[in-house]
Subunit: 207 residues, 4 copies
DNA sequence: CATGAATGAGGTTTCATTCAT
DNA sequence: GATGAATGAAACCTCATTCAT
């Protein structure tokens, strides 16, 4: 019995991971259910057994991806460290997370192309981001109280800006690399980028 | 004869615009050649007559989109105004251009999903960005010479950051709006966003 | 033990009824084994445990339906009443039975679409109709002897005609209702139909 | 140009006939689009080119079948012959038409299994039956005026009864043949059936 | 320049059925 | 007796592309 349950969990999870890889690589409409089955080493029919359709599968992949990053964000505990360090930490984390999880960027791009049609049908997504925003707000307040940070910074705006400077560099690295005729993903350039981003955000945040 | 040539130009251009709309809405693999023909009000076979394949059509749409934004950027003449104003101007322009040309964002997302496969096969794209970077570099230098701007700012990094904070907010507006449970494209929020971005960049650039 | 056997009977019968409903609604090829399992509230595998295949299940449903109507026909005892009343009774019974058992009509339609492939493989079906025909023959003979009924009526032909006028009106009620733009199953129209059918048959049978 | 048009008509019509045969043989859900393509000797994709879906194809087949029988009915000109002959003629025609067009019966059975879902979405079906009913009403009136026919016969009821006795015998010939252990489609039996039906209807209609 | 007809390959999804417990 | 997991075959349908004129 226990084994059975484990098997199910395994197969379903294997499919989820295979789908994540396929969706990340080819987008929603470019992904092939056949390929997902091959990646998972399981029968294609099983995909429809566990998930109801390609779209439903995509939604679950997306929810999974969101829950993973939210979990990682929670583990940052930015409220327990020095505010300047906290800002540095937030940038570095975001950057590293996107670097380590290129599929997350891909999935978000696909979902935005779908106008968030899947996410809108999803429960318990909205709530999951607020703890992070609260944490950032707390950090900004502490920095302000210490006389370090400027006044009137909106935590959501700041979060979107930090995400944006990390995200855009990576999500558009192919076109940018082509246009600027240099490989933006070269380790040296990646290090320079992180450094620039920290300078940029701290330059704004600090008085 | 002249008229015939003009007609050809017309039909080809009509298809290009129809394709741009379709690609912007559905991405490369999600776009339908049939839909493009319907949008253009022309026979599908004509698409293959003017462009050789769906991918070639996509490339030409992409090249067209790039040439348009480059043309607009050239018209900025940032080198002829006050450096602080120039930075403001650059942010505002980028923001407005993305707002007015949502298809540009969509096309870039698609192309990055394709790992810039089309762009890499394209001549005369790479050179086109450098004037802008030179212009930014000139602005930064002027600001530095006037004792206003900080030292050591990489124009490419700055450009990518400005583009990133504008781009991400818009390209991911659907998921962000869902997650934060507010419509990020509401006029009020858009105005706040622009204001925040200017604060952010100037806060960094200014000494 | 007894309880187990009873359980078995229960489950098997539950499946049979569920299958009857599903087959009646969607026909043989339109019926879904999954749906039958859901209707029965039992595991799909059990269907294959009790019945060997979808076709075998269909056959048993069919046999069950036939045995039910034959049982009801036996209970008529037409031979014990006045011949005119007996004819009225036969028409009314046939009409009411079809009305009360729409699944019977559906199953017969499906089986005829299959060219009676299942029924031909069935034992003990053929014999079951003859008592009814014998009963009708007896009624006709009695009516003739009483000087009421016309001569030379074939009981099988009469039976098929009575069945036909009832059956067709109901089996084709959807298309007929659409074509004649009135709901043939409205109580008023049903009553008129029964009245017409009795007039028709008696008009023919009576001298 | 003319040839092109003719080709289109040909291909579409060839598909229609192939579909009619396939639907007649296997019903709506039992029919295979692949088989229709093979029967038509045309590419499967073309079926979706001309008709939009299997259901739409089924509807057009159905409409075609209805228009054919209505056309044949119009050609009867029952109003121009002796009323008794007209009734005979109507029965004989109905019987022969069903015999010659077994697909018509099959299609109607399928459509009724679908609860007339297709027909309900069809324009100009309802109107097509009324001329026949008017013609029957005219015949009945003439017979009554000549002192031959009984009073108060509803033409729709009569039509349904005539259709029913013909239809049921043929649509259910497989199960009936099995149950009565004789081939109902044997020429001798078919002749007897027609004779019985004429006796039955005239026995009712004539005073 | 322009078009309606046609196609092969492959897409998502569904099905009856069986495996393993 | 009962079940959840798994499957191969085949269903409907769609796609980019080409043919023929």
């Amino acid at each position: 019995m226990v084994k059975l349950i484990k098997q199910e969990a395994d197969s379903k999870y294997i499919i989820l991971l295979a789908a994540q890889a396929e969706f990340a690589l080819h987008g929603l409409s470019g992904a092939r259910v056949d390929s997902i089955a091959v990646r998972a080493g399981l029968n294609k029919r099983l995909i429809y057994y566990y998930f109801r359709s390609k779209d439903q599968l995509f939604l679950e992949v997306l929810e999974h991806a969101y829950s993973e990053i939210r979990r990682a964000e929670q583990a940052l505990h930015l409220d327990q460290i020095d505010p300047v360090q906290a800002v540095r930490q937030l940038i570095t984390f975001t950057w590293d997370y996107y670097l380590d999880h290129p599929e997350f960027i891909s999935l978000l791009n696909s979902e935005n192309q779908s106008q968030a049609a899947h996410l809108k049908n999803s429960k318990n997504i909205q709530a999951s981001t607020s703890p992070l925003i609260k944490m950032i707000d707390f950090v900004l307040q502490k920095g302000r109280e210490k006389g370090l940070f400027r006044d009137g910074i909106d935590p959501i705006q700041l979060y979107i800006s930090i995400a944006g400077i990390c995200y855009f560099y990576l999500s558009n690295s192919h076109t940018l690399s082509t246009i600027f005729a240099k490989n933006l993903l070269h380790p040296k350039l990646k290090a320079q980028r992180l450094s620039h981003m920290i300078d940029l955000i701290l330059g704004y945040v600090l008085l």
